[in-house]
Structure formats: C-alpha cells, structure tokens
Symmetry: C2
C-alpha cells in the first residue's frame, strides 16, 4: 500500500520529469503505459509510476539525477523484445520505465574505420541497413531484429546466428556512452581497436542489463561485405558426428564459415508437419542435420566449390550421410527458412519448455546423450526439440509434452523438475544456463544457485559500488 | 626509514610466506631478487621485501591472505618483459614481488572446443607450440614471445601483430581463474562462446595489470591452422593512399587478411643503413611501404593468386606504386624481418622517443600529417620513425634526434614537450596514449591528464571496491 508521503514523493518526481523532458514524453495513462509494462513473451506484467521517453543522453542523465533525488527505481527499456523479463518493471507501481526509443539517431558512420556510432534506441535492422548502404556488414542478426534496439542488444549481450565468426554483441562494440547511476554522462565513444589505458568499463556495462548504468550510445564494429553467402545442408548420424564434421569444416573453410546450425530430425519433422509447404530436404530420414553457411569474399562460385570439396571429403570419411549445396540465393534462403521455422513449428505443436544453454562445443554430444536419457527416464515419451548454434556450443534445448499429453498440464507438472535436470547437466559440463538471453528476472535464482559464492560476492560488490542506492533496474540480474 | 615495528611486521610476513610455500621459494638475498626489481627496458629499479614464487593458485591465495593480514603490497610479475614498469616494485623495499613463473602447467587442451587452459606463468611461445602440436593456431604473437607469460599478456591485454584478424589478448580469452584481493580463489575457467549470466568479471581483470586481483590461469581460444601464410609488400605515396589500399584489401581478402603493417621510407632506410644485408625491396624509393599477410585456409597458390589480383587492381587504380608478392616461405619471412628490424635499427641509430599510440584507422593519415608538422616546427630536423599496425590504427610513433645532434641531450631537452605534442594530437583524434603497452607506472599521469573526470572516478570506485586496502600492485594504473 502506497503511503501518502510516498505518493507525494512519486508525484513530485513525475512533475519534475515533465518539467525536464516535456509532459508529452512522460506517459502515465494506463492505456499509454500498457505496452511498456508487459514483456514480449507475456510472462511478466508489472506496473509503473511513469514511462519516461527522453530524446537525448543529456535528458537521460537529468532524469537519473531526478531519480536519485527522489529515490525512484529506473527500468531502462529498448525494443522490449527481451526473453528474460529484464525490461519489465515490478508490480509495485513505484518504478519508472525509461524508454530509450527516442534516442534513435545514427550519429556517424566511418567506413575507413569500419565503425558506426549509434544511439541506444536505433533498431538493429536500421543499423544493418545503414552499414549496407556504406558497403559494410553489421553482422549482428537475430529473430527480433526488426524491433529490438542496439541498446537492448548491448545490455543483454545478444548472440544470434553470426557469433561463430563475428562474436556476440560484446565483441562488436568498441565504445559506449553511459549515464551512470549518479546521473553523470561518460563519453566512452572510442572507435579504437587497441586501447590499454585503464579498466575495461565498457565490458562491465555490456551484458549488465541496465543494472549498473544506462547505455545511451555506442561505437559498433563493421566488417567488409562478403561477395557471397552460400549455405548447404548435411545429414549426419549423431551430434558426435556433427562435432567431427565441424572440425573438418573449420579446417577447410577457416574464417569463411559463418554458420553451423544443428537440427535434430524431430525438429525438421515438426516443421514439415506444421508447414507442409517446406520440403524435407533429404531423400531419407537422418538423425541430425547441419545447416552450414559460408561468407565468401571472392564469389558464389568459389564458396560452392569449397562446399563441394568439403562434402566430398566428409562423405568419403563417412562423417556425413548426405549433403545438398544450395544452387542459388533462393535455395540458400530456403535452408535458413527451415531452421527459422523450428520455433514456429514448436509453438504450433503446443506449449513447451525452453532452455537457452551453452556448453563447451566438445561436450555437446555427451550433453545431448546424457540429458536426453535423464529426461526420458523422468518423463517417458517427452519429446526433445534440440537445435541451435552448434558452432558456439549454444543449444535451444526445448522439451515438448509426450504425444497426446496435455501441454499445459505437462508444463505445470514438470517445468521445475525438467529445468533442474537440464541445468544440473549443464553445470556438470561447465556450461551456461543462459547463453544468449541474459538473466533478467527469469533466471536470477538459478544463477545464484549455480554460481560460486565468491563470484556472487564479486558481482554484489560491483553493484553496490556503482549503484549504491540500488536504483538501476533493481531486482534484475543480482539480488 | 623503516621503523622497528614496521621491520618486525615485514619479518613476520616473510617468515609466514616461508612456512606457506617453502623457504626455497621466498627470495630475499639481493643477488637473487635483482632480476625481479628492474624492468626489461631498465627504466625502473625498485627494491623488495621478498620475491615470492608460489607453485599453485592455492599457494597464491594463501600468500595474498598473508599480505592482507600483514598489510603488504603485492606486485604480481610474469616474464618481466612489460614496457611500462607495471611489474616493478617501488623503491620503498616494503612491497613483495609475486612471481607467477612456477605456475607453468598447460592444464588442458580441447581441440574440438578450440580452447587451451593454461596457468599464468606459461611462456607465450609454449602456448603457441602446444596449440600447433594439436593442429591449432594460438594467434597471439609479439616480440617478447620467448619470455613473456600468458598471465602478463592478459594483465596488460597485449596486442601484437595478429590483432587485425584475431583481436587483442582480451578477445582471445574465454575464462579466468583469479585470486581476489581478499585471497579468495574464483574458478571462472569457462570455455564458452556464449554465457550471459551476470557481470563480465573476466574483462575487468584483463588489462588491469594486477591492480584488482591476480590471474592464475586462463582458458584461451584457439583457431584453425591456416594452410598457408603468404606476405607481400606494396609501395605507396602516402599514409592516405595506404588507408584506401586497406579498404580495397579488406574487400578482396575479407578475414584472410591477418597483417597490414605500415613502414615509412625512413624506417626502411634505417634498416638498410644498420643491417646492409637486408635488401631494400623496391627498385626506387617510395614514401611509404605496407607489409601485407594473408592466412589462407586453402593453399599458398590460392593466397598468391588473390594477392596478384589485388595488386593488379591497386596498381591500375593508382593506389599502389609498386608491389612484390613473396614467392615462397623464405621470402615471406624476409619481408617480416624487414619490419621486425625497424626497432633494432632505431636502437642502433641512437636513443629516441617512443610513443605507442592508436587513433581511429580513418584518422591515421591526418594524425601523421598534423603531428609531424607540429614536431618539425618544434624541433626542426627531428626525424620521425613511423611504423606500426595500420590495420588496427596502432602506430609506433617514434622520434629520433636531428642528424648530428646528440641523442641524449635531445631526449633530455625534448622528451616532455614532444610527448605533449604527440598525446595532444592523439587526444584531438580521439585516440589512445597507450595502445598495447598499458599504463603501468610510466603513463599514469598522462592517463589522468587526458581522461574525463567521470571515467577516472569510475576507475577509482572499482579499485576501492575490489581492493579496499590498496594492496594489489599499488601505485600502478590508478592513483
């Protein structure tokens, strides 16, 4: 229950915000704030004092200083496409959402330095498009790219399909502009490949999900545009064979390899069932399939010739049971479509349990064998939907109810116990329980459970040092 | 003057260290400690209470706990090849050097995960060799690789010649084992490409030069071995032309380009003067030369063909005035030798002023023009020795006394004023005054001078939070 003194403090804060950035940019009507208080997957719904929509880093800093003065928690939000509830306020109605969407300028592009300087609210697809116009590639790519923002990508250190070659969002960032928890503006917008002049503040704010300060702009790396991107599909007997095949591919293709995605046969069957227009690509069934992508700086012909030599070698060695190299861009696109339809087919099939995990690449086969066996023992007939970025050890390890079993009842009964089996197995293999989605509010307890006390203590020390009032996205990442 | 109470505290500490790691591994005789108290360039000579040589992370942790108990500053040291005095104790004789050299085990190599787990004291060349045995490449490479250690490389975020393609030491590290300033052991030895479960502690310790905690082991990334490395030399009219040529090369070669080193004509002439057996590679003089390296996953022939096409194109466009592609490995080696003999030739020519700086790649031409003009105005006849890793914007921007002028007198008179000209120019171009060597004790004042107060304050906050007693390499990086 909000006390009168509290209500007055909230009221004064909101008024001061209006005076600072204009009343039109301070939303308090529930109709206006609704889109900002529910997360993208609709797992979390909070309430908010106000949604603040500043248009510059200076305004963000001024708002944070007001928050400090009035002791208000700030929840930074980008495109609101996060998968861990990291941008959703709690239900108290005492937190303020700070939307970065109006900080949406591309401040600079420097093709000779291979950098682009963008504000936090720029949509990922717009960064990609601007880079392409300048004859460069911005390689970060993920399902939400049409609505997620670069600030959100940085705050969660987003992954996606290009990590194998280009790294996570962290590896694509050279410099940041930050509003600290004290409302100071730090211009760390350096576009340097080498700079050893003190502590790495940049990487501390990246992946911190807005709990240490607010990212308002960034200098991101660009890469040369490849002349051609060509894909191929390979059919294999097991994840173990896929690992051997990955090593062979890396030897043949080196840095030209930009995608190596594993899909179990059940994944492809699900796609075929719910999207019958998508053709199963092989003549016969195979236990596993791999989607490969080469990004070639020479030509499409060169990439295809490389694929042909690779597949010939892999077939001879018995690593691969069948293979198709895309004949043209349309077919390349079709192969990616298969991969991208797996989550959609899964949704059609019914509610399911999702786990975004990573293990060392070399452990993937053992992880799949052991975890699958443990779940099968726990829930006979449970159907594993295993696919993901094998090249970086990141699996979307999802579990669907046994055939004919009610999905909702299955979730209610097994959600916790299956997650425990999966995460215990991840932990045994020295893996990560959140490979690319972050902790948000969804996985704090799990993270605290598996992390060593000394690491949790180090995290708490940093949080207390940089945000002593606990106003920056309180309740996320760390408690 | 050390007071009796102090002397007794020091004595008790050293005795406790002997009891913990064995008297043989606690050096106090000045003859034994001498190699540890002077830096590699002999710019700094300190004194020490004792040199501690633990053999395990557990022993390091125990020694740090003793340091906390007795309030003794610990100066971590690897191969003692640093260029900024970061591993040299001060002259008080009250600091203890902690050598990591006996932590020299390669704990694990995992070719399928493309990782190697090494202790801090392993020599860089040994990491390279072990990777090669396993058919992998560990791409970090620098002049001191025969004696520097991986722990020192991490503590200073070492750069070197492969950064353009493979990144700095930071980008090559996946996980760390750390002894905190409280003497706790954190096992962060993760070998994961994706892990978003909290704050990025790893990158905070990398590049912190031992001021926040001690790195005792690390998981480092490996890459596929290229099938061939081929080099070429190109002659150009200016640094501006070299920039255009870099963009063209990146378009042609994409990620196969692993080296792009600029050398002014004066650099090559110096090499020719002091090492006459090294042939000047072109028929005529040209203002600038670039050394290019391709690392090709196909073959030497493929790399050479790519170079031929590139050079033909660049000659046609008038970007390049002349070019030589190495015919074989011996000639590739000879081209690198030219580059590596520049610092040696400089030393032969006499004492000189060295600046390890970086600017955005696109600013290199303007930086060289403007800074050169300012120095020429300040000291007519001063000779610029400008060379370095153009591909990552990192120049070794060195200045030699005018012909016939006594080098020592030149240094005494102009060291400070020329550094100010160079660093002011770096600052105007949003560059770094220490690109790959770190701050150590050499550049703290300069860093404090150029950094924004808010950044210095953030660094101080982190230092105070993680090392509240200021025992971890006190006097380095931050004051």
């Amino acid at each position: 229950m909000t006390q009168p003194a509290e209500a007055s403090r909230h009221h004064t804060f909101v008024d001061a915000c209006r005076a600072t950035i204009g009343a039109a940019h301070v939303l308090t009507d529930p109709h206006d704030t609704a889109p900002y208080v529910t997360d993208w997957r609709r797992r979390y719904t909070g309430a908010t004092l106000a949604v603040l929509c500043p248009s510059s880093a200076g305004e963000v800093a001024a708002l944070v200083r007001l928050a400090v003065e009035h002791h208000i928690v700030i929840v930074p939000q980008g495109g609101n496409t996060g998968l861990a509830g990291g941008a959703t306020p709690d239900s108290s109605g005492e937190q303020a959402v700070l939307s970065l969407k109006r900080l949406n300028r591309i401040r600079d592009i420097d093709p000779h330095n291979n950098t682009i300087t963008v504000e936090a609210g720029v949509v990922l697809a717009d960064v990609q498009a601007r880079a392409q116009e300048a004859g460069r590639l911005f390689p970060l790519s993920l399902a939400a790219e049409g609505s997620c923002t670069i600030g959100g990508n940085l705050a969660t250190n987003a992954g996606g399909t290009g990590v194998l070659r280009y790294g996570n969002t962290r590896e694509l960032c050279l410099g940041l502009e930050i509003v600290t928890a004290q409302g100071e503006l730090w211009d760390g917008l350096r576009g340097l490949r080498k700079d050893n002049t003190g502590y790495d503040l940049r990487d501390l704010f990246i992946g911190a999900e807005g709990t240490l300060g607010i990212i308002t702009a960034a200098v991101m790396k660009l890469h040369p545009q490849p002349a051609a991107r060509v894909t191929a599909l390979a059919a294999l007997a097991s994840p173990h064979a896929a690992l051997e095949f990955l090593a062979l591919t890396q030897r043949f293709a080196g840095p030209l390899l930009t995608g190596f995605e594993l899909m179990s046969d059940f994944c492809l069957k699900l796609v075929g069932k719910h999207f019958p227009q998508m053709r199963y690509p092989f003549a016969e069934s195979h236990a596993q399939a791999v989607l490969l992508e080469l990004s070639d700086s020479e030509s499409e012909e060169h990439a295809r010739a490389l694929f042909e030599r690779l597949m010939e070698h892999a077939l001879e060695e018995g690593l691969v049971e069948d293979a198709v190299v895309a004949e043209n861009i349309a077919q390349s696109r079709a192969f990616w479509n298969l991969r991208e339809h797996i989550p959609l087919a899964q949704a059609e099939e019914g509610l399911n349990l999702k786990h975004d995990i990573a293990v060392p690449v070399s452990r993937i086969g053992h992880f799949i064998d052991e975890t699958g066996a443990a779940i099968a023992e726990h829930v006979p007939g449970a159907r594993m939907v295993t696919f993901g970025h094998l090249g970086d050890g990141n699996l979307h390890y999802n579990v669907q109810a046994p055939e004919g079993v009610d999905a909702k009842a299955f979730l209610t009964q097994y959600q916790t116990s299956i997650a425990r089996i999966v995460y215990d197995s991840v932990h045994r293999h020295r893996g990560s329980i959140s490979a690319e989605h972050g902790l948000g509010q969804l996985k704090i307890d799990e993270a605290m459970h598996y992390k060593q006390p000394v690491e949790v203590q180090l995290m708490r020390t940093l949080k207390a040092a940089l945000d002593p009032l606990n106003l920056m996205n309180a309740g996320k990442v760390i408690r």
